[in-house]
């Protein structure tokens, strides 16, 4: 008890501070999602669902409770009211919790983590509204439908603040043949991404890789004698003239992007590079369309 008390107090304080920010984040995500109009994903054939599909003549085998008496009363035949088959999709999200995501190149710009969570939540709002099941990979928030799931997602994302400098996609808890969205800066070890993507593909999971970068990471606007450190401080690199490194850094960044894109294409995924300097809406539309495409 005496051992755990400070920890629980700290947890609670963090949760409360996060809770203060969450309504704003949620509101922002809902606002973003409101720009996309969609309905349920009708399967255009009869099945289980809420929407009316067609009336058909009752035939042998239909139980009496299936007969639509109101329609049947208008004629001599018996009719069964069929509904459109609506199958819910499972979408698992992985939002990179590593510290590298906390970077922002400008005080006026949100961090990459903020943008990743915003996109993830906005997508969740859209998907949940569409009746899909949305969850996080891992154990934090199992895919579930319904608006209440949003709060679980938020809790799950908040709980997974990581101390590592760079994150690797977590693939546990991915259900077979579901969809997955990985949001990260993918600046860590690319091998881990490959492994994760391979495991996901093995289970028939398709989805999208969203690489979120800060404009500063794209432009490398540094010069002079500089010591670069990773966000956690685990990596450092000293240079005397940072400006000289720009071209080579940009080459490496381009190579990293190309590798991710090739990887995504090979495993049937989609790849997007998104900058925090851009509007989140275009990324959201792209994401939504990518999930539609993969279906």
């Amino acid at each position: 008890m005496t051992q755990t008390a400070p920890l629980s107090i700290e947890m609670r304080a963090r949760a409360e501070s996060l809770g203060e920010a969450l309504p704003a984040l949620l509101a922002q995500a809902e606002h973003l999602a409101a720009t996309v109009i969609l309905g349920e994903h009708g399967r255009r054939r009869a099945g289980m669902g809420d929407e009316f599909w067609q009336y058909r003549m009752a035939h042998a085998g239909d139980s009496a409770s299936q007969i639509d008496w109101r329609r049947s009363a208008r004629s001599d035949q018996h009719f069964v009211r069929e509904r459109e088959w609506q199958a819910a999709q499972t979408v698992s999200l992985w939002v990179d919790p590593a510290r590298s995501m906390q970077f922002s190149g400008d005080a006026g710009r949100s961090t990459k983590a903020d943008r990743a969570q915003l996109l993830a939540l906005a997508l969740s709002v859209l998907l949940l509204r569409g009746g899909e099941r949305v969850g996080l990979t891992g154990e934090a928030a199992r895919p579930r439908a319904g608006r209440a799931q949003l709060l679980h997602l938020i809790d799950g994302m908040a709980a997974r603040q990581d101390a590592a400098d760079y994150g690797a996609p977590e693939v546990s808890g991915l259900t077979s043949h579901s969809r997955a969205v990985f949001l990260s800066d993918f600046l860590g070890d690319p091998e881990e991404v490959e492994t994760a993507l391979g495991m996901a593909s093995d289970r028939g999971v398709r989805g999208a890789l969203v690489q979120i970068l800060d404009p500063a990471e794209e432009e490398f606007p540094f010069d002079g004698r500089t010591i670069f450190e990773s966000m956690g401080g685990s990596l450092r690199h000293e240079t005397l003239r940072a400006g000289d490194l720009r071209a080579r850094y940009l080459d490496r960044l381009a190579a990293r992007k190309a590798r991710l894109e090739t990887l995504a294409r090979a495993s049937g995924w989609h790849y997007l590079c998104h900058h925090t300097g851009q509007s989140a809406q275009s990324a959201l539309l792209w994401l939504y369309a990518a999930l539609e495409r993969g279906r």
Binding site: F222, G224, M231, Y249
Partner: protein, 922 residues
Amino acid sequence: MWMLGPVGFTSPLLLLGLIALPVLWLLLRAVPPAPIRRRFPGVALLLGLKDDEAETDKTPWWLLLLRMAAIAAAIIGFAGPVLNPEQRETAQTGPLLVLMDGSWADARDWPRRLDRAAAIVEEAGRAGRPVAVVRLTDAPSDTVFQAANAISQRMTGITPNAWAPDFGAWANTLPAGDFSSYWLSDGLDHPGRADLLTALQARGQVTVFESPRPVLALRPARFEDGVIKLSATRMPATDTAELELSARGLDPSGIERELARLPLTFDQGAAEAEVSLSLPPELRNRISRFEIAGVRSAAAISLTDDSLKRRKVALISGQGGAEGLQLLSPAHYLRQALEPVAELIDGSLADVVLANPDVIVLADVATLSPDEGEAIWDWLDKGGLLLRFAGPRLAASDVSRASEDVLMPVRLREGGRNVGGAMSWGEPKNLAPFAEGSPFYGLTIPQDVTVSAQVLAQPDPELATRTIAALADGTPLVTRKPVGQGQVVLFHVTANAEWSSLPLSGLFVQMLERMAVSTRPAAPDAADLEGQTWVPQVALDAFGRLGEAGEVAGVDGAVLAAGLATGPSLSLPPGLYAGEDRRIALNIINAETRLQAAEWPANVLREGLDVQTEQALKGTALATALSLLLVDVLAALALSGRLLGSLRGTAVLGFALLLLAAPDGLRAQDAADLRAIEATNAVRLGYILTGDARIDAISEAGLRGLGQRLFERTTIEPASPLSVDLERDDLLFFPFLYWPITADQTAPSAAAYAKLNRYLRTGGMILFDTRDGDVSGTGQTPEARRLQLLAAPLDIPPLDILPDDHVLTRSFYLLQDFPGRHTHRDLWVEAAPPDAELAEGMPFRNLNDGVTPVVIGGNDWAAAWALDESGAPMFPIGRGYAGERQREIATRFGINLIMHVLTGNYKSDQVHVPALLERLGQ
């Protein structure tokens, strides 16, 4: 003091610090700029990248050089460098006399001369020598040697005079005893210089200072052959020089400005230069002076007098009083030709002679009465020009027939001749070219000038000499005869187009101009000036500035005549002198003055004017060091890649400095903006501050009360009223101003009146309230009189007592009376147009246009409207219930008034309602 070239050092030992610079070099080279730490996730991609250049961890050489220069500058600065340190020479002893010419030629570099003189006096003061300073253009007086500090205080007040120094007189009044002299010469050789020099050399050593600056002088302008001749002279006749001459005078609106500008070129080695200026007579008449542009000296100014001015011309025609067509009038063409260039005098011959015109023109006047003839003869004798034109009357008369009339240049043959007419042979005659010696010589003759009729001169031995223009067949057309100092000129044709086409041509104007101009002698001679007293009107100082001469005694004509020949002096300063009928300009130099350089004998010490003043360089050196260090800060930031970030900070800092530097202006701007926003964010009624706090408070309360009633009863919802200071505030934000008049109100300034007029013209309305209840009765209350004074400069249309059908009577309430605290009926508003008609079917006239810009009354409305803080009326009005009724009507008047201001003639437009309804019905 240790000297290094022209630079001395007060503490030269500090310069040893410069030896330490190489050590610093080594130290600075070893320390590279500090790195920046950056958090950057992309570092994962950077791992393993090597820098291209390995040696940049040393400070770059140029940065080192910069720092070394900064430190060297600091060391030198603290060593106390002084440029041109004054070398204290072995001092002379004994009194020192400083002589300054102080003439117009000194004015160009007077401050430098004064500095030099001050330096000499100061130096003498340090040596403990008594000093005296003398300005040689002053009247000679006894010179007293004084302590230098007493003199140097008076030095700055000494100015040069605009005349030449009187050396001869000074030579005789030098103080006794030995003394040495410094003579600041103006470089010109004025008479008596040798005497003074000899006298000075007898007392002690003489040192002469001379300036190498050239002396320029402009001679008086002359008028010759229709052009103005301007000439200038200079003293060292050296290289080619370009000058600009500027003619200045009053423009038609009475403002002095440059009327013409022309270049003047001195040739190589020439001391004189001349240029002609041709100007239209209108401009020429306006010129008041010529000046060499950019030269600050009295000699660069040449004042003009009457010799370039308009001439007085009397026009007398024989048909005086007779009715006729204007184009046939003999004087018509003369009037047209002379009007722009001359001052025309009309009247009877006897009257105009008294006005002493320059020219009398007699157009077809044959006989003169003996008195008139006598008067003209006297006038001619004094230099007048009598210009006569022939005509039918002259041809028919016997004047100058048998014997030559004194007022005619030639004898005439009877009847004259006609050529080229319907009843005569031959072609109309052309003019022959003007002979050399004729005043018209050089004028081109248009081919279409023909003569079809003329009077003929009797052949005479003197006829050829008297003819100044002739026809192609040799018959005289214009003849001239000198009479005393004047002359008589006869045109053998009419002054109108009856006999010839000459008056229709431009040649006629040119001939008249030549004739009339040649009458005024360019230079007045002594005989003209003598016997009169000439009063200075405009005074010219040595710097070429013109000023009022002030109350100065006039000078005798003889003195002035002598001054014109020899140049101005102490008793006769340069300027413009006015006599009885003309003005004479006395300029610094006249047409003959020669500028002669002063030659000094070899035994006189000569020095230039340039003074090398001691200049401490310590501040400069330290400032250099500081600025170099600032550059170093920027360079170091640039090297470490931090310049961009810090630039933003610098910009913020710079902006903050700017804000600190100009806070007043910004605050004033803010205040004006705030007031504009306050005045325009709602409808606001304004009242004009009278300066009487009680009246202003009543105005404020009145308008507040009115605003409250408007808010309650109408759609106008005014915010609280604002006070308006006419001098300070912008009026344009207010649709309506209330102006209570107090008897002792100060009148607004001209700028405020301009603002008020603009306000009234652009649709504002002012309610003038004399608060006396009686403005239209006798109009004699103090307030009413004050109102008349205040409103006089306002642009107010004709006013009328408010008519019964004025829109104010029905713009919201139907009203017949407009009471305030008083109940006077009459109210003055803009008068209705006289052609207003009664509208059909309506009890009022068609008065559609315009809102009256002013409403004038005296019922003290503000008192009737005024509400106190609790919303209760501030002042009792009338008695009992009737009083409350009166207050109600006063409020209604206020509402009507504001409605009228804001809706304009809307209610007046109601007269059209029947017509509109009728149209809609169709």
